[in-house]
Structures are given as structure tokens and as C-alpha cells.
């Protein structure tokens, strides 16, 4: 009966009200996946609207003496990989007959992607965002509002992504008959982790063939940042069967659900979470709003336990240094989230390195400048 398991992780830990909607979503998803029109519509949208394929850029000055490549999801429309998922779920929502979208957002990148697809598809859009994140990511709030979304501040608890996700789920519980919950990462109850992974797997499959074109062989290591883990799971999807390719996820040191967390239940799934001994979720801390989340996708917990992927950490300071270096050495301003991946990618011993540059850093300028001044 239990569905959507990755080992002992995943599942559906939600109030009963949502179970029929998840069943409906799962059926709609299976049908869509089997339908060639769904795939071709997504490919078309990717090419003509989102800007796929995104290029692979070699970063010689950033990583001298190595062959380090960046998968440029920062060049995707809206500035981050989040659009891959938002477009796919928007098409899915249309197939399910839902015309109202709720979403949560941390850094605002998923919120912007959700607002963007809602504008394009003509949906009503409500985005929940923690008050603290709204302060940190002001430009993205303004973008969402320009795009016609209603941004609802979440003014209690941690005032970050965790509470925003809870409120989005509560909205969904209340409006489940008309509303699709456009979750932004590979977290949440089944079938969400699978849907998001599949929709983000375009990153890994493109990067794999681009890397082969560039180098004639596969990278020794693939690196991506992990908050909820959607860019990483999409990137890893392209290489998980290539057992010689090392997979490394980089968490924020203050939000290392995989590194320092243990099994728990948060936002509808059993995964590795930051919780105390009583199962109470504890606050995460990261300079990067997108990584500031005490949970992670269940498939990552599974990949960690099986040893297929490794998860390491980068501090705020290390991420800021990598942010500065990539900006100065390569002329690319990364978001603070992938700056964590960049920070650790430099330490790895492999010669051939592939890093997912999941988003661009315009949204982070104020935060970075504030830290510099401080």
C-alpha cells in the first residue's frame, strides 16, 4: 500500500484530505509520461520558451590545472533550474484541469518560475514565502508580483522555506479541488519527489552528452548543491548508472539534513531531516535562502545510505569566497546556492569535474554586499 519509496524513505505522510489528490496526481503523471505529446510539448517549451539546451562552460581560471565544467542552468529563463520543473508541472496541472497554483519559495527562484509559468498558462498563482526570505530576496518578490502572482508572507516560526512549505500545503488542503500544488523541490509526499526528479533530469541528460562531446569521456565527479535537492537529483539522474562517476552533493553547513540529520518525517515524506531527539524539526541556518531548509528529498537520503552519492558541506564563508572567485575569474555571477557546490568542487582531486551552476546570483547581490560591508 505504501507508495513512492526509496528504500525506507519517501511515502505519503499527509492528512487524509490530500491522499485522493495525490492519487489523482499520480495517475495523471503516469498518463502524461506515457503520452508522447506531453514529452514533445515539454521539449518544445524548453527550446522556444526556456532556452534549452543550456551550455556547458569550462572554467579554467576558476579552477586552474583542472578541467572543470559548469552546467549553465543560470542561463535558463528566469535564471535558475527551477523553471524545468515549473513548466512540466504547469502542463500536468492543465491535464488535471487545475487552474489555480500554490507554491512555496525560499530564495524566490521557484516562486519566480511558478509565477512565470502561471502567467504563460493563464493560471491564478499564490506563492508563500517566509518574511525573512522576503527581506533577503526582495528582487524576486518584486518579479513575482510583476508577473501577477500573489506573494503571501509567512510571519511565524522560522519565517523561511520550512514555514512557507507548511503554509502552501495548508492552502492546498483547503483548496485541493481547484488547486495544484507546484512543489519546488524533490521533497514532499509521493509522487512529488519522482515528478520533480524526472522533470529536472533534463539537466543531467543534457550535461552528460555535452560532456562527452567536449571531453570524449565522462567526468570523474559531478557536483551539485543540495537544499531540497532538485538540481542535484536532476544532475545525478544523468550519471547515476555510470558507476565510475562520483556524485557529490554539497549542503550548507548550517542546514546539512543529510550530513548531520537523521530519519524523520517532514512535509509529507520520511527522509533525513534536522530534528531533535523528540522529532521536533529544528531551524536550519544558511546565508543562502534556497538551502535554508531542514529537510531533503528522500531519494538523496537513499543515495547517501547506499553510498552511491556522497554529501559534504560548505560554510557561508566558503560559499561567499567561491561566489566572489567565480564572478572575478569567469565573469559569471552565481547564486549563493551553487556557490556552495563551487566551493567544494575546488577541493576534489578528480581532474574532470562537472558542476551544476543551478542559478544566477543577481538576487543575492544585496545579501553579498551586506556581508562584505559587515
Amino acid at each position: 500500500m505504501t507508495t513512492g519509496l526509496y528504500g525506507t524513505y519517501g511515502g505519503r505522510y499527509v492528512p487524509e484530505t490530500l491522499v485522493p489528490a495525490l492519487d489523482e496526481l499520480e495517475a495523471g503523471w503516469r498518463e502524461a509520461r506515457a503520452d508522447p505529446d506531453f514529452r514533445s510539448e515539454l521539449d518544445e517549451l524548453g527550446r522556444t520558451f526556456a532556452g534549452r539546451p543550456t551550455p556547458l562552460t569550462r572554467a579554467d581560471r576558476f579552477a586552474p590545472g583542472r578541467r572543470l565544467y559548469l552546467k549553465r542552468e543560470d542561463l535558463l529563463h528566469t535564471g535558475a533550474h527551477k523553471l524545468n520543473n515549473a513548466l512540466g508541472q504547469a502542463v500536468l496541472a492543465r491535464r488535471l484541469g487545475k487552474r489555480r497554483i500554490v507554491a512555496e519559495t525560499g530564495a524566490g527562484q521557484h516562486g519566480v518560475a511558478a509565477a512565470t509559468v502561471c502567467a504563460r498558462f493563464g493560471y491564478e498563482c499564490v506563492v508563500y514565502m517566509g518574511e525573512e526570505d522576503m527581506r533577503r530576496q526582495r528582487p524576486n518578490v518584486e518579479r513575482m508580483e510583476l508577473l501577477g502572482a500573489e506573494v503571501r508572507p509567512v510571519e511565524f516560526g522560522t519565517r523561511t522555506l520550512k514555514e512557507a512549505t507548511s503554509e502552501a500545503i495548508r492552502d492546498w488542503i483547503t483548496n485541493v479541488e481547484t488547486t495544484h500544488y507546484l512543489i519546488g523541490s524533490c521533497v514532499g509526499p509521493a509522487p512529488y519527489p519522482e515528478i520533480v526528479r524526472e522533470l529536472q533530469s533534463v539537466i543531467g541528460s543534457e550535461a552528460r552528452s555535452q560532456f562527452l562531446d567536449a571531453e570524449g569521456r565522462l567526468p570523474g565527479v559531478v557536483v551539485a548543491c543540495v537544499g531540497g535537492g532538485s538540481n542535484a537529483i536532476g544532475m545525478f539522474a544523468g550519471f547515476v548508472d555510470d558507476t565510475d562517476v562520483r556524485l557529490v552533493g554539497v549542503e550548507a553547513a548550517g542546514a546539512a539534513s543529510l550530513g548531520t540529520g537523521h530519519a524523520g518525517v517532514l512535509h509529507g515524506a520520511r527522509s533525513s531531516v534536522l530534528a531533535d531527539d523528540d522529532g521536533q524539526i529544528v531551524d536550519a541556518h544558511s546565508i543562502s535562502a534556497g538551502l535554508d531548509y531542514p529537510g531533503v528529498g528522500p531519494e538523496h537520503a537513499f543515495l547517501r545510505d547506499t553510498g552511491r552519492a556522497e554529501y559534504v558541506r560548505a560554510t557561508d564563508g566558503e560559499a561567499l569566497a567561491a561566489f566572489r572567485d567565480l564572478t572575478r575569474c569567469e565573469g559569471i555571477i552565481p547564486a549563493l546556492e551553487p556557490a556552495h557546490a563551487l566551493a567544494r568542487a575546488r577541493d576534489l582531486e578528480e581532474e574532470l569535474v562537472l558542476v551544476c551552476l543551478s542559478g544566477r546570483g543577481d538576487k543575492d547581490l544585496e545579501e553579498v554586499l551586506a556581508h562584505r560591508a559587515g
Partner: protein
């Protein structure tokens, strides 16, 4: 049924609720991220956690409540994360030892962790198939979530309740149905109880409890009064003999709750349903003496015995 958040004063509050006429007390074990709860219970949970109400303290609170309300079924309500951290079996066993009659886990729908015996919830969105599954797996009674939404007072009883009750009667195998979410006033109580077998009041009770045991007792009594008044009226009309009132004829039913130690008294106005309780059916028009003859004093009614999760009436008129 009255919901209270676990806390230092909860045993006294629970006692007051019982004195006011509550038949069951639901005891909230707070969780940091309560998805099914609206603002009132969410804030109560935040305060409880800030006051140190972790799992161990909640179990102690349960045991103290049990001591003050020895006859009342007590049902902890919480979220899966607490059980995951404490250990599923250990939680169930320690809760039972502390006096729990059953358990409600708000984010554990029927089908997940089927080995954990608990009260299942059904919602207006539940399919007939899921209602059947929940009734099959539930521990004694079904919790009807009256609306699509989170906990919290509403202006009116949800219009979705009637349809849900109708389906739960049809597919629920005769399991008693208690309606909760959005019920806060005596009028709500009356309206919901006209459909379901019992009502659950949460957010409003938590708010009233902030004013202390007396306020809670009076509030619960106002609900009790509304329920009893409407039931007496039902009896009059069904019995057709206004001179022979039967205000105290009650049937004590013992839900088939594993580890249950206490009977659940309910007013004997239960509607006829598939596999209905023969004794209970007689009650609305029964006098004390006829009730005693029609419900075997030893309890087991043959039609009920066959029910998997049904209850058997014991005469106590």
C-alpha cells in the same frame, strides 16, 4: 469529544471538560510543523513546545490526566515525526501504559504504517474505497473531517458533512462516526450531531481553556446541553408519547479499541445503519424498562458481534 493541547494545566482542564460533559478527551502532543492544524492549534503547539512539552512530558501529562479522569477515554493526537523519533511501537506501548485509549496521527493516512492501531480520519475528498479502508483499519470509530481545510472555528458547519456521513454510513461497516474540524458553538454541535454519532471540538476548546477550568467546564456544558436537548426532542418525536419521557436512558457502548479500558457512554439515539446495534435502535423510543429487556444485560448483541469494528451495547438504563 474535546481536544486539549498537552501542558502543565491539562489534567485539570481535562477533568473540567469531563465534568462539563465531555465523553472523550483528545490530547494534543505538539509538533513543530503541524500540517493539519490552523492558527489556533498551531500557536498552542508553539507555546507548548516552548514550555518544554516534548514527548516524555506529554506522556506524563497523559498519565496525570488519566489519574484525574479515570473513566474517560483519552486519545493522544499527534504527528508522525514524533512517533518516528520515539519509535512507533514504543510510542504506542508507552502511550497505552500512560492511559491512552487509542491514538490519532494526523499525517498518517489509512494505508501508511498499517500495523499501528489508531483512529483513522476520513475527509470529504476521501473516495468510497478509502472510506472502506479507513473503517476497516480504524480503532473503534472514524474521525470525520467535516471540511477540506485545517482545524479551526468556522461560521457554519460544513455543508460537506452530510454527504460524508451518508457515504461513511454506507461504506463504514457500522463504525461510529465522530465529526470534527470547524465545530465551535452549541448550534454547530447540534447540527453536526444530528448527522454524526459524536462531535469533536478542538480550536475553540483550546482558546476557552486559556481562561481556565471553570470557563472550559461551562463551555463544554453549553455544548452538552445543546446535544442533550436536541436528543430529547428527537426522542419525543419518535416515541410519540410526550408523557413518557426517557431522559436518562443511555446505552454504554464499548468501542472495540485494543487496550481499551473504558466504555464510551453515548446518548442512545444512534441511527439505524447497516449492521446496526439492535439495542441502540430501540433506545430512542424505549422506556427504561423496555430498554433493559431489549438490550441483554450481558452485553453482546448477535448482530453486533459479527461486526469487525462494531460496538456492543450494555444496558445501563
Amino acid at each position: 469529544m474535546i481536544y486539549l493541547m498537552a501542558g502543565a494545566d491539562t489534567p485539570e482542564l481535562a477533568r473540567a471538560a469531563v465534568d462539563g460533559g465531555a465523553n472523550i478527551v483528545e490530547l494534543g502532543f505538539p509538533f513543530s510543523d503541524p500540517l493539519a492544524d490552523g492558527p489556533v492549534i498551531r500557536r498552542a503547539a508553539e507555546r507548548a513546545l516552548a514550555a518544554g512539552m516534548r514527548t516524555r512530558a506529554c506522556l506524563d501529562c497523559l498519565a496525570r490526566t488519566r489519574a484525574l479522569a479515570p473513566e474517560t477515554p483519552l486519545v493522544p493526537m499527534t504527528y508522525a515525526s514524533l512517533l518516528e523519533a520515539y519509535g512507533w511501537d514504543r510510542f504506542a506501548s508507552d502511550a497505552r501504559t500512560a492511559g491512552a485509549t487509542s491514538l490519532i496521527v494526523a499525517d498518517l493516512p489509512a494505508g501508511e504504517q498499517p500495523e499501528l492501531r489508531r483512529v483513522q480520519l476520513v475527509a470529504p475528498t476521501s473516495t468510497d474505497e478509502r472510506i472502506r479502508l479507513a473503517a476497516e483499519q480504524t480503532d473503534g470509530w472514524l474521525y470525520l473531517v467535516t471540511l477540506t481545510g485545517t482545524t479551526g472555528a468556522r461560521d457554519d458547519v460544513s455543508p460537506a458533512l452530510a454527504g460524508l456521513v451518508e457515504r461513511a454510513r454506507r461504506f463504514g461497516d457500522g463504525v461510529p462516526l465522530y465529526a470534527g474540524f470547524g465545530i465551535s458553538t452549541p448550534d454547530h454541535a447540534r447540527a453536526a450531531a444530528a448527522l454524526a454519532d459524536g462531535i469533536v471540538v478542538g480550536s475553540r476548546a483550546v482558546q476557552v481553556a486559556e481562561d481556565g477550568p471553570d470557563a472550559l467546564r461551562n463551555y463544554v456544558a453549553s455544548l452538552r446541553h445543546a446535544l442533550d436537548a436536541s436528543r430529547t426532542a428527537t426522542r419525543f418525536s419518535q416515541c410519540g408519547d410526550r408523557r413518557r419521557t426517557v431522559p436518562t436512558c443511555r446505552v454504554t457502548r464499548r468501542p472495540h479499541i485494543r487496550g481499551a479500558r473504558f466504555a464510551v457512554p453515548v446518548s442512545a439515539t444512534r441511527r439505524s445503519t447497516r449492521g446496526s446495534i439492535a439495542g441502540a435502535r430501540c433506545s430512542p423510543i424505549a422506556t427504561s424498562s423496555s430498554c433493559a429487556t431489549r438490550i441483554p444485560a450481558t452485553g453482546r448483541c448477535p448482530t453486533v458481534q459479527r461486526q469487525r469494528s462494531g460496538a456492543w451495547p450494555i444496558a445501563r438504563c
